[in-house]
Amino acid sequence: MNFSKTYSTFYIDDFYFGILTTDVTELTKENEVTAVPLAPAAVQGLINLRGRIVTAINMRHRLGMTHTEYSHKSITVFLEHKGELFGLLVDGVSDILELDESSFEAPPSNLPHSAKEMILGVYKLSDKLLFILDPNKIIDGIELTHV
């Protein structure tokens, strides 16, 4: 009964996150993001991905971090949600890990509520924690706060 799945992992600030590899369509770096005035704060702007217009999401804001600015070396993790493409802005990408879902633990209670909602579970690595994110919650959450 070993249901292991592969997860793409990335860093935002000093935190380590993972997302199901099957949800990720591609990763690109140094995308030009066009800011959208009056947009919800979690929307960083729009990206041109080979002729498709993709909404870029400021993950720092989404996770309730105090610093929401990215360096110019940010990487975009693209994923599809309800037929639309979205780009998550992250600080750096790391390995693809094979993990067993049953070994996930509940997120620590000291996380901000908004961040905790998006976390499916926590995986304890030898030296750090890996937070597994639910892509649907990341995006739906924004729609909700906006309405």
């Binding site: 030009e32 066009t34 800011a35 959208v36 005035p37 009056l38 947009a39 919800p40 929307v43 702007g45 729009l46 990206i47 041109n48 080979r50 002729g51 498709r52 217009i53 993709v54 909404t55 309800k82 639309e84 979205f86 995006i139 924004i142 729609e143 906006h146 309405v147």
Partner: protein, 769 residues
């Protein structure tokens, strides 16, 4: 299972086509009851429907269609005439069938219902009997007033995709292989006949290649890919120009050509003739006319005019509403018409044509027209304006009231119209797709003109800068661009109850600062010499947007901004620029509403026209001021000015008695204004490199008035001094800024121009190739 679903879908589509065809045939048949071919067509259509429903065991359809078919059979044989009661029952039959098919569409099964009365009626008629008169047996095809489209149409095909027909474009080669010896001669003959032959061949080729049904989704996907290809090509082009590699450049050029061809052909697949929408109107007019006991004839001109199918969808309801309005409100009862000396049968004319990259649809009737005094009275009653203000309003301004929600002049609310819902929705719908509506009315009838863009996927836009960002303003909203020199006061603006305004030719235009609206850091306006103001029109008001800089004009491919930004009403979409950057496209109406400008203006009874003291006197017709060869300061009423153009003189060609210039896809005849005012001028006087032309559309054709130099737009005083004796081509003079201007009599000039060249018919001129 999937297979039978597919068959059912095909059946539903086929049924829909048959109904449309039947609708038209029936109405036509009523006019020409002897047309045996038409009866045959209807008979066959009914038969097809019966046959296909038998396959699905749709018993109700089969029974009703069978009874209808039997009656039609008698009519075809000539043993029974088609009178009004027969037509009514047959139309009723069709409505019933349509209703059943609708039911099948939603539930995939035949809805319950009792058709015995209808079948009995059909049988009675078939047996030569007649029906006891019943009130309004025909169920009129009343549909609710159009709802505003809930989403911008740019997001494409929201509804269930239906396959549309794409005709195979067979390139028939009219030149067959011929022996070389007489090839040249042959070729010459064929070249002469090529036009004729191509036309003659056209129907043949359609026989060869069956039109193909293609899923709309697939077409949309292809369209998207083509758009992407175009953008990729643009980037490639900029590489090629910098590379200096001849091979690479020529390859890119080939790709460029192919892409262009692909894009054009792809656009064509989206185009559909307007007749797709109009085909339902004869029946609509017939039913509505019968309901209100009127006699109305419907004339359709230019039904083959093509436009983007998504646009076609969104004008369907507005058009239907207008046509119904025309029958119900516009056309008078036969008695009243006779009393007025009009023909008893009223005429509604639908026409459509392409003009300057727009589709112009006019709906005109020869009815009573809009009762403007009544409109004014209602406006006062509803507290929309004061009696004093109404008295000062121009016809155009009064006409604007009918577009307000809840405004109706109809005394009695009928179940067709007069409920005051409608015209506002018509205008909203049309504006949403970047079009506009205007009305002309007199006691001889009403004429509504709808102008809409050919396609939504690509539109011209003006780019402006605000802060370090570029934004696009759709050209449809654009009125004019002004560089406003800062005079006295704060930035040269005035204040109207907290709304900054500026003066533009005797009008007060409210302004919005774009940077404030978008909450971004823009330029410091205090340190600038002049403000860049883009005057735009949307949501029924005209206002200025103060931007940091006006950049350039470009055609843009409109894309959706995505679901997370749908709630931000100031954008209608986004586009990708040639350099790969994304730029946002404004929804000007959204900006106006969000800013609260509209409510502020309404609250304080904002009046555009400045009517204090001196300017009230000056408030008259706007006119274009220009010079001719030997005469300065001539004014041409602005209503006649559609565009100003400059052409290099070498582009003037001689065609018969005219000097012409190719203008877009039309030929524009030039009128040398001096000839009509100063008498024949030696043409040597015109030997300049460029000519200034005032373009005026006359009966849909461009006419170019050649002038020496255009100066300005001025507001003419109301007082016009008539000349004695009258001077040809001049209406009179007026005093403007202490000197005299002559006001042109354009109608007189056009009449004289056409009389001199009455021998030919310019409407038939067209550009070939």
């Amino acid at each position: 299972m999937a297979n039978s679903d597919q068959f059912l879908e095909e059946f539903l589509l086929e049924a829909e086509e048959i109904f449309d065809q039947l609708d038209q045939s029936f109405v036509q048949l009523e006019k020409t009851p002897e047309d045996k071919k038409l009866v045959g067509n209807i008979f066959r259509a009914m038969h097809t429907l019966k046959g296909s429903s038998g396959f699905f065991a749709f018993k109700r359809i089969e029974k009703v269609a069978h009874a209808g078919e039997s009656l039609l059979g008698k009519i075809r044989e000539g043993t029974r005439v088609l009178d009004e009661s027969a037509t009514n029952v047959l139309l009723q039959t069709m409505d019933r069938l349509r209703e059943i098919v609708k039911g099948i569409e939603t539930t995939s099964a035949e809805p319950q219902g009792d058709d015995s009365q209808l079948v009995a009626d059909l049988k009675t008629l078939m047996d030569g009997g007649s029906l006891a008169p019943r009130q309004n047996t025909t169920a009129p095809a009343i549909e609710p007033a159009p709802e505003p489209a809930s989403e911008p149409v740019a997001s494409e095909a929201q509804e269930e995709p239906k396959p549309i027909e794409v005709a195979h474009k067979l390139e028939q080669e009219p030149v067959n292989s011929t022996p070389v010896a007489d090839a040249v001669e042959q070729l010459q003959v064929q070249l002469q006949g090529i036009q004729v032959q191509a036309q003659a061949e056209a129907p043949k080729s359609s026989e060869l290649a069956q039109p193909l049904k293609v899923n709309v989704e697939l077409l949309d996907r292809l369209m998207n890919m083509v758009s992407e290809l175009v953008l990729a090509r643009n980037r490639l082009l900029s590489f090629a120009t910098n590379s200096g590699d001849a091979n690479f450049t020529s390859t890119v050029r080939t790709i460029d050509m192919v892409t262009l061809g692909l894009q054009t052909s792809m656009m064509e697949t989206r185009m559909q003739p307007i007749s797709n929408v109009w085909s339902k109107f004869p029946r609509l007019v017939r039913d509505t006319a019968q309901m209100c006991s009127k006699k109305v004839e419907l004339v359709q001109l230019g039904a083959e005019t093509e436009l983007d199918r998504t646009l076609l969808e969104s004008i369907r309801d507005p058009l239907m509403h207008i046509v119904r309005n025309s029958v119900d409100h516009g056309i008078e009862s036969p008695e009243l018409r006779a009393a007025k000396g009009k023909k008893e049968t009223g005429t509604i004319t639908l026409s459509s044509m392409h003009e300057n990259g727009m589709v112009v649809i006019t709906i005109s009737d020869d009815g009573a027209g809009i009762n403007l005094p009544l409109v004014a009275q209602k406006a006062v009653q509803k507290g929309l304006a004061t009696p004093e203000r109404v008295a000062k309003m121009s016809e155009r301004e009064l006409m604007d009231f009918i577009f307000l929600p809840g405004f109706s002049t109809k005394e009695v609310v009928s179940n067709l119209s007069g409920r005051g819902v409608g015209m506002d929705v018509v205008r909203t719908n049309v504006q949403q797709i970047g079009g506009n509506v205007d009305v002309i009315s007199s006691d001889q009838g009403t004429k509504l003109r709808i102008r809409i863009p050919l396609t939504l996927a690509i539109m011209p836009a003006v780019f402006v800068r605000c802060g370090n960002q570029r934004f696009a303003i759709p050209q449809n909203n654009l009125f004019e661009m002004v560089r406003h020199k800062k005079g006295s006061g704060s930035l040269g603006l005035e204040d109207f109850y907290g709304v900054p305004v500026f003066r533009l030719r005797n009008k007060l235009i409210p302004v919005l600062f774009l940077n404030k609206e978008l909450q971004i850091h823009g330029d410091d306006f205090e340190s600038k010499e002049a403000l860049s103001i883009v005057v735009v029109q949307a949501a029924g008001i005209c206002f200025g947007l103060i931007v940091d800089e006006v950049l350039f004009m470009q055609e843009v491919v409109v894309k959706s901004v995505g679901p997370l930004l749908k709630g931000v009403t100031v954008y209608s979409g986004a586009t990708i620029l040639g350099d790969g950057h994304v730029a946002l496209i404004f929804d000007i109406g959204g900006i106006a509403i969000r800013s609260g400008l509209i409510s502020k203006l309404l609250e304080n009874d904002f009046q555009e026209n400045i009517d204090d003291g001196k300017s009230a006197q000056e408030e008259g017709q706007s006119a274009l001021l220009f010079d001719l060869i030997n005469q300065d300061r001539i004014a041409l009423p602005l209503d006649y000015v559609d565009r100003l153009e400059n052409f290099p003189a070498h582009r003037i060609e001689r065609r018969g008695p005219h000097d012409v210039i190719v203008y877009g896809d039309k030929i524009m005849r030039l009128i040398w204004l001096s000839d009509y005012i100063e008498g024949k001028t030696p043409s040597s006087d015109y030997r300049v490199e460029n000519i200034s032309v005032v373009v005026h559309y006359h009966k849909g054709q461009p006419l170019g008035f050649v002038v020496k130099q255009v100066h300005d737009i001025v507001s003419l005083p109301n007082e016009i001094i008539m000349l004695s004796p009258p001077q040809p081509g001049v209406m009179g003079s007026a005093i403007l800024d202490d000197s005299v201007v002559s006001i042109l009599n354009v109608d007189d000039i056009i009449r004289r121009f056409e009389n001199t060249h009455a021998s030919e018919n310019p409407a038939h001129m067209s550009v070939e190739g």
